[in-house]
């Protein structure tokens, strides 16, 4: 299977993603330039972290209008996996492919440190292979990671399993102290209605080898590799198309 890592002007974690996928997981990886209008036949798309377009206007807002985005939108609508990491998550919310948005951290700080997250939903390609409740250690590095959405949306997202990761302590307890940025309900990552689009603030690619302090992040990539292997591509399209229609209402 082939992975595509999208590079926007200002992306700075693209090569970290390429390294984790190519060198650590022996995957076929292509780089997708933000001006490309096709995705080169990839099976999975990753939007990496960074500061696309300098984070001007709002983080992710201008990147959401980039020439490559219609192709990513079409790709997502077929049910294929799309992962947004940090700035990639911000871009996906601004593109309305994921609900909610990310605002400045509480406490006025850029937070750069390891965090723990609990897997809250296995209904996504990136978590299908990780038991619910598993605690993963990954680093964060962001100034705008406070997840917010309309109050009634939080309950809806929780009810239908679209909250994918929550900040927790090393033992898996979701506490205010474990929440590094003021995210509502400790939410660290969410999924689209169909489950195939996932965004999270922590960086799995920076936690993909023991040398980096944690290998937990590679489990997200391994999960999608397993998921792709067990699910024929032909089955994706109708399922996802149906749920994508039902999804529209929660986008934003």
């Amino acid at each position: 299977m082939r992975w595509g890592v999208v590079i926007f002007p200002g992306s700075n974690c693209d090569q970290d993603c390429v390294h984790a996928l190519r060198a650590v997981l022996a995957q076929d990886v292509v780089e997708i330039w933000y001006q490309d209008r096709t995705l080169d036949g990839v099976d999975v798309v990753v939007l990496p972290g960074g500061f696309a377009y300098g984070d001007y206007l709002r983080a992710g807002a201008i990147a959401a209008t980039a020439p490559v985005m219609p192709a990513i939108r079409d790709f997502a609508s077929t049910g294929r996996p799309v992962l947004g990491i940090c700035n990639g998550f911000q871009i996906l919310t601004e593109a309305h492919l994921l609900p909610g948005t990310l605002i400045r951290n509480n406490g006025l700080r850029f937070r750069c440190r390891p965090v723990w997250v609990r897997v809250e939903s296995t209904a996504t390609p990136f978590t299908a292979g990780i038991p619910e409740g598993t605690v993963l250690q990954m680093p964060i590095a962001h100034a705008e990671g406070g997840y917010v959405t309309a109050a009634d949306d939080v309950a809806t997202l929780e009810a239908v399993g679209r909250v994918v990761f929550r900040y927790c302590d090393p033992r898996g307890r979701v506490t205010p102290e474990a929440n590094p940025n003021g995210s509502v309900a400790g939410i660290a990552g969410v999924a689209s209605a169909a489950g195939n689009v996932v965004g999270l603030m922590p960086h799995p690619e920076r936690a993909s080898e023991a040398l980096l302090g944690s290998g937990d992040g590679r489990r997200l990539f391994e999960s999608v590799i397993e998921w792709m292997a067990t699910r024929p591509t032909a089955e994706l399209t109708p399922r996802a198309a149906a749920s994508a229609q039902a999804a529209g209402s929660l986008a934003r």
Partner: protein, 83 residues
């Protein structure tokens, strides 16, 4: 002179970290300030645009309706005044 000036503010209740930081600075200088909210001003020249079209720009792109409100001003006005 821009045709439109757009003032964008975070909705009440949305954490305004920049406002908090500015308030800390004012406090440090000894001013008695109860609250500070920091927004953005965007001036655009779009001679053919109606206020409705500018509102559409705000709703789709310039502001995020989930967390922000906006106000559209026409500083030059139809009369062409202003400095």
């Amino acid at each position: 002179m821009p045709a439109f000036r757009i003032v964008i503010m975070l909705k009440p209740g949305v954490l305004d970290a920049a406002g908090q930081a500015v308030q800390q600075g004012l406090d440090a200088l000894g001013y008695d300030v109860q609250s500070v909210r920091v927004g953005k001003v965007i001036e655009i020249n779009a001679s053919g645009a109606t206020p409705e079209a500018v509102d559409d720009m705000c709703a789709r792109f310039l502001a995020n309706p989930l967390i922000e409100t906006w106000r559209i001003e026409e500083p030059a006005g139809a009369t062409g005044g202003g400095a």
